[in-house]
Amino acid sequence: MIGSTTLPPSGTGAVRRFLREYGHEILVALAILALLVGVGLYNPRFVSARNLTTIFSGNAYIAVAAIGMTMVIVIREIDLSVGALIGVLATISGTLAVSGAPIWVAWTVPIIAGAAINAISGILVAYARIPSIVVTLGMMAILQGGLITATGGTWISNLPPEYLLAKMTVLGLPMPLVWAIALTIAAGLWMRLSPFGRSLYLIGGNAEAARAVGIEVPRRIVAVFMIHGAFAGLATLLFATQLQVIQSTTPPNLELIVITSAVIGGVSILGGTGTVFGSSLAAVLFATIGSALIFVNVSAYWLRAFIGTLILLTVMADMLRRKRTMKGA
């Protein structure tokens, strides 16, 4: 799965290798395209500039959050608390913004706070050896309950206009879209090319081997959880600045959507494989499906059933593929 960088590939071999390595990502991209064309023919308003902006820009924060989740799942861990974390960080950021703190403070604190909060989960997972699923289940309860207890459920309004990052544009493109693309490419290249990034695949694929070649696995686990927290902070900036108000509740099922994006994007839940290109594309696919349901007049209440089915089908396909490669080898 980790592509070797030895021989310069030639001609059709390069194409074939690209297809083999990024087959899943291409599949997801094709699915998006098929949906856009199919539903677009049924209802042209689906592919109107306005709706496309809503789909791509409005859900960019999910792609950003899924980048960090991808790293967590690649090292064979999981984080159920990311939705609650984003809710907490949004309230922290919004409170700073309305209390007159400089805007850059309101923008950077969530990123640092995200990393700091997730460091706790990481330490419990890496050093106390508690399964990440239970640690983050507990963290989810603490963050969710703590948020509502602290705020009493009030909303933050009167956000200063210069704080609303998600409403800004770069070269005519909405800021969230630019961020999602830039962060995906940066993180994707980092995971593929840097020694640290590549070590994550080894940790997820074979932790024993990683230890044997001298990688300090527990320290990397904490680092990955912190990086994931920082990405949650970045996602928060895009999420919290979309509207004029910040609700002091956690977005329902956000962790599920983020995890699903990673899984549907080809990140194996068994660790060791998957790219952030896949997870970001899957986040877009997700948003497209959600919007398409509305345009073909299917009640949005069915959305979660679709999500569940998609998770199960993707993981099933992953299991079958693994069985086949094992037999082939």
């Binding site: 509502i148 207890t149 089915t309 998770i311 199960l312 993981v315």
Partner: protein, 312 residues
């Protein structure tokens, strides 16, 4: 005794301390009325937690219990009000639906080979999605009086739930601790390959464990719907957190192989005492959520340290 049941002893001590502290905090706490009512309130979580103990002891996990409960609750309302089936028939169908939900989890885990965590995360979304899709977020009300009797009535002066819980508790305790089947579950959780080579029916046992988990969730749904006399698609949301907390608090190893029903029962009581005591002391529901999270994490940390010491 102390050596073998150290965790349970410590837990029982904690329960007593919590009871004492809470009864000093509020005069209403240690009254018969309040105690019986708490027993009524904890029945749904407790039923599912008893089944979850088997699941976790077998080395698995079931995150879909809350959604199964939601789906069963919704179907109770829809089958009765929209499809016009007699409520008695519906009450016979719902446990079957719970069984099917559990068996489907088993299918994904055993036949397809998915990790239990991810399979039940998927069905958590799927079952809740079905509940939402089927109900279209409409609630069902107006249940007949006899039905409300299940969840609100009493038998010989004790709430119905206490009787059901008592029977379930004894049944689960005997099965897990004293029968061959219970030991099979423990063996699977301790080492699945070893259980397999010992000739134990690994797959059949795992199917049964997940089926029982689904069944318990459906019974919890019936109790819950009857107690509150309405049906909503978000019923049971977050149930898995309460349940897993109680089981893990009770000393069941999250890695499987070890756990007792007594432990789970004590874990359930401790959580309920804390919840009730805090609410009587004026702490809002969300504050107790924080506490449950903290208790869960601290228990796990303590358990991890104890285990490390034993290994050394």
């Amino acid at each position: 005794m102390l050596k073998r049941h150290g965790h349970e002893t410590v837990l029982a001590g904690l329960v007593v301390i919590a009871l004492l502290v809470m009864s000093f905090q509020s005069a209403q706490f240690l009254t018969t009325g309040n105690m019986l009512n708490q027993g009524r309130l904890m029945a749904e979580v407790a039923l599912v937690a008893l089944a979850m103990t088997f699941v976790i002891v077998s080395g698995g996990i079931d995150l879909s219990v809350g959604s199964t409960m939601g789906l069963c609750a919704i179907l109770t309302g829809v089958l009765w009000q929209n499809m016009g089936l007699p409520l008695g028939v519906v009450l016979a169908i719902i446990p079957i639906i719970g069984l099917i939900c559990g068996l489907f989890n088993g299918f994904l885990i055993i036949r397809v080979g998915m990790p239990p965590l991810i399979a039940t995360l998927g069905t958590l979304a799927l079952y809740r999605g079905l509940a939402e899709g089927i109900s279209q977020a409409r609630s069902v009300r107006g249940y007949p009086e006899w039905f409300a009797g299940i969840g609100q009535g009493s038998i010989l002066g004790l709430p119905t739930q206490i009787w059901i819980l008592g029977v379930a508790l004894v049944l689960a305790g005997v099965i897990l601790g004293l029968t061959r089947w219970g030991r099979t579950v423990q063996a699977i959780g301790y080492s699945e390959p070893a259980a397999h080579f010992a000739g134990l029916p690994v797959n059949a046992t795992k199917y049964a464990v997940y089926a029982v988990s689904g069944l318990a969730a459906s019974l919890a749904a019936i109790l819950f719907v009857s107690r509150v006399s309405t049906t909503r698609s978000d019923m049971g949301t977050g149930l898995e957190l309460d349940v897993i907390t109680a089981v893990v608090l009770g000393g069941t190893s999250i890695f499987g192989g070890r756990g007792t029903i007594i432990g789970t029962a004590l874990g359930l009581v401790l959580v309920q005492v804390l919840k009730n005591g805090l609410s009587l002391a004026g702490v809002r529901g969300d504050g107790t959520l924080v506490l449950i999270g903290v208790v869960l994490v601290l228990t796990l940390v303590a358990g991890a340290f104890m285990e490390n010491r034993v290994r050394r």
